[in-house]
Symmetry: D2
Subunit: 323 residues, 4 copies
């Protein structure tokens, strides 16, 4: 059986809607920010946490309109929508250090979102140490790292982050990650934010160290965008949907229902494994314009984080700094 934890914010939203709307301890707020749809689920207390099966915290989904990346105005609206929601979750004093972490593998285009964002973040911590007189008082000290992935480093990403956090003691860690979506229709179409932590490489196994306040020693906000679907999802969806089609046609017939039910999960996964041989789990499915879209997403997220972390500056100020 395969589990994907990647679409946490979307699934919280869907789970909440499917339930009786009066669930205590949980609040759903749906809004528009300049035509960008935002859904915000708050798990308020232990009752809500038990009911939803998720920790107390915020789970935010921001829709990316179709073709957004080809429309400069929508790109700007998205940056503002994401930064507005981020700002709601950020509670820092002016002098508090923030660490931005770009998760993922910079050698693999759809997984390079995190590292690409880092290269566009307004990095200021070192300037405030080296040339404090040249830096405006209103500028917050920000630093950023791209720790790589376990397969490339041999080190749990959480260990690297914790090692750095212990050295530089930030008050907030913002993690950016490319997600493997559970549905093709979500690829490149949502920005997902939560403040309860993130599991890097989620879905591959359950031994991985989660990146959250308890493990890392600083508050964690995670921002993710689905950029890829595993080929197993495609194969699985095809089988599920052909069954639905067959049930539509023959569902009344008792014999048929029985037959379908005999095709169990193990049969299905063995078929999928066969279909994807010899590559199986190492196959990524991506839209062909993935390079351009990841660049555009990186710009949106970097702008959002920069605006949220530097409330005293305008976006133009920030861009002049970055150059």
């Amino acid at each position: 059986m395969r589990h994907f934890n990647s679409d946490l914010a979307v699934e919280m939203q869907e789970a909440y809607k499917e339930q009786d709307e009066k669930t205590p301890g949980v609040r759903l707020n749906e809004s528009k920010h300049e035509n960008i749809s935002i859904s915000h689920v708050e798990v308020l207390n232990d009752v809500g946490a038990e009911k939803m099966g998720k920790p107390i915290g915020n789970y935010i989904t921001i829709d990316i309109p179709p073709y957004a990346h080809y429309d400069a105005e929508t790109v700007d609206s998205l940056s503002r929508a994401v930064s507005t929601k981020l700002s709601e979750l950020i509670d820092l004093k002016d002098e508090d250090v923030a660490l931005v972490v770009g998760l993922g593998n910079w050698n693999v285009t759809p997984d390079a979102l995190g590292p690409k964002v880092i290269s566009k973040i307004m990095i200021t911590r070192h300037l405030m140490q080296l040339v404090p007189d040249n830096i405006d008082d209103k500028v917050r000290p920000v630093c950023g790292i791209s720790p790589g992935v376990l397969g490339l480093t041999g080190i749990e990403t959480g260990e690297i982050i914790k090692g750095v956090v212990e050295k530089i003691k930030p008050k907030l860690v913002i993690c950016i990650d490319a997600l493997a979506a559970r549905k093709l229709s979500r690829v490149h179409r949502t920005v997902q934010i939560c403040d309860t932590g993130i599991s890097p490489g989620g879905g591959i196994g359950n031994r991985r160290m989660e990146i959250n306040e308890k493990n890392i020693g600083a508050k964690v906000i995670a921002i993710g965008v689905p950029t890829v679907v595993n080929a197993t999802v495609i194969a699985n969806d095809a089988i599920e949907m052909i069954f639905e089609e067959m049930i539509d046609k023959y569902g009344d017939e008792e014999d048929f229902r029985k037959m379908i039910s005999f095709i169990n999960e193990d049969d299905k996964w063995s078929v999928i494994q066969n279909v994807l041989t010899p590559f199986y789990s190492d196959l990524a499915v991506t839209p062909k314009d993935v390079d351009q879209v990841v660049d555009s997403l990186a710009k949106i997220l970097a702008n959002s984080v920069n605006i949220a972390l530097q409330p005293a500056l305008t976006l133009d100020d920030i861009n002049r700094y970055i150059q």
Copy 2:
């Protein structure tokens, strides 16, 4: 219905083997070159051409062993095997110009094989015009272009090649292309060569101008390696295989066979279309090490073409030239 013409050489081989071995006008030769398996189908005359449904010519498949790209010795053996078969198809005088064409889109990793090969070809034609005294007499004049793809240029690739051929009058055109495989098991696992022409972007429609001697005005040798599978193949294979699984279990039951047979091709393609929404035909499935493998393939093919076009030089001579 979808058609893929991409695996021509492999399919000729398979088609031949499935037939009565005494087909007149067709010859199959299977051999080993330093442990590399080679299969060579020759369509010798009109009888063979009609029988096989393909033009008179040579269709060669060279197997790439698993993990070849991580073993320097196998990479060298492959270069020699491919260059040996290429040499059999090349019949040029010393002074004849050869044009190497890298088909495909250099912005999309799995499609960049052709342009990457061009960047490693020993280009000599201009030197023989600009500094003839510095160039060894035994060096053949070779030139190369990467014409791009229709969607990027707005011009049929064949038109560009023909325009260039009319200006520089080569005696031979060698086209290198990344192929979309019909089966996942062929991805990165065969080099396919034929001397009857190539259809760029084959499978997308049937209006495209084929690149062959008749259209271009010079003999054409095509070399291809499958680097990608369309997501439709994955979805289709999953459905076909789950049907097979079900037939294995319930195939004896008359009712069931009937049901399966009612799920017709249109249903299947409508399901696949739904599974792949919103991207459908724009989804590429690639192994995650595609960057490294395409680099390795480019080196193998460039070495092979360089050796075959410059029989008077050693590979070391060639590499010194290229630098």
Copy 3:
């Protein structure tokens, strides 16, 4: 002695200003377009052409303000300024085909400007042939190629362009190129436009085929931006400037003037050659943010060309097409 033809438009402007302003047959027009400075030299007739030593035509320089690439508004102003000047030079009927050519080597970052622009051009010619009913009547047929560089192809770039022009018969060819500047202060700081042709790889030798209406068979507009300086320029400037410094200090002393004058051009170039050994002419000097700036320049130029070639569409329409 080394010659660089790269900064044609800027030098026309400077040459004109240094002269008596009443030069007949030449007109200089300096203007502002939303704070972007534009200088436009027109050589109107043979008298002007002889006086300026350049063919009859237009030579336009558009200043890029410092830090422009980090300010979205300036980027937009630049696109509009360049497209406005381009539009003045373009005189096409709705149905006339335009060919955009991206000169330069896509493997070398500062030389990849042309090919990068091509990847952002609104390419429509093939759609108007394949799916004419889906395409708005007001859309002009545009196609684009990136022909590579002589060292990579073995073919004069002009030959490739001419071959393609003869096949598809465009009424206008727009060439985009990265220039090697003669002064560091021009790198990334001007867009230069002329309608008298362009010499690819200018400065390397004088045997190269110029890309102009006479050679190609269609009107040519060239757009260039300096992205690199040859290391020889740095070495040469250092020597010239230290001489100036010395003359400032000791210029009154007769002996000293004599000494300096004895250091002749040959000495100087022999010193420069020694300084740059073992690489000499193969050294490029680039600002460290070259990757980001070339991306930004590509976007500015692509927007400008798209707007100028599709006057019936808005930039939003164009961007939706491109996706």
Copy 4:
């Protein structure tokens, strides 16, 4: 005044040779390994350290022959030469963890050498934790990180490394870095190894935290290859050399010597600053084939480190692991 610490090993060698050969406490050993020239300076004790002005330790220079990167055999010889010298410096038990650190900025080609090496290192530490039964006992646990550069992260590289070292406690840290050479003739032509530490971004200022055993808490071996020259070096060399030329011609004349001597260091740096305006310190000078050469260097260094860290495995074993 500018200082560059980048060519430590070469300069130790040159300094030693210029001295009386009987310097006590220092030993120079020059050798050949399959035609690769190796020079090894050992500073044996405090007397030698004081004499040479450098800490006790090993300073090794391995020459890269011209055109090495275009000759597979020389590439292999180099890998073996570097690994042989590395092995002499490594003293680990089988179970000791080694951490390989790729210094430099992966977004800037000539500075990406370190991160590129990391992507080719045989990373095993995580496998020995996750799937110990599948891993051969003879395999050493190796991990790797690419910590980025101060300007990109806002964190001293040494702080990041120290943070990680404290978490995973390696017995050895191997740092790979691209160097800014002090002479153009050294670019791409030497591999430099020392076991006394490395100063990242050396030359930019003297506040940077050195990466050595004392600061990091584990033995440090540094491997570097010069890939770039600062544009200031070109300008400075041009001035120095034109002075030499002038002294050759007029050196006898008292007046002239005086004049030259009046041009002091401040004048010279002010000239250089003017020449390089508006970019000054942000200009990199690189040979045009830098992309290919850095790839080749990365392969050589990765092979060397892999062989030296995994003495129980063959290079073929290692390459199979890496895939």
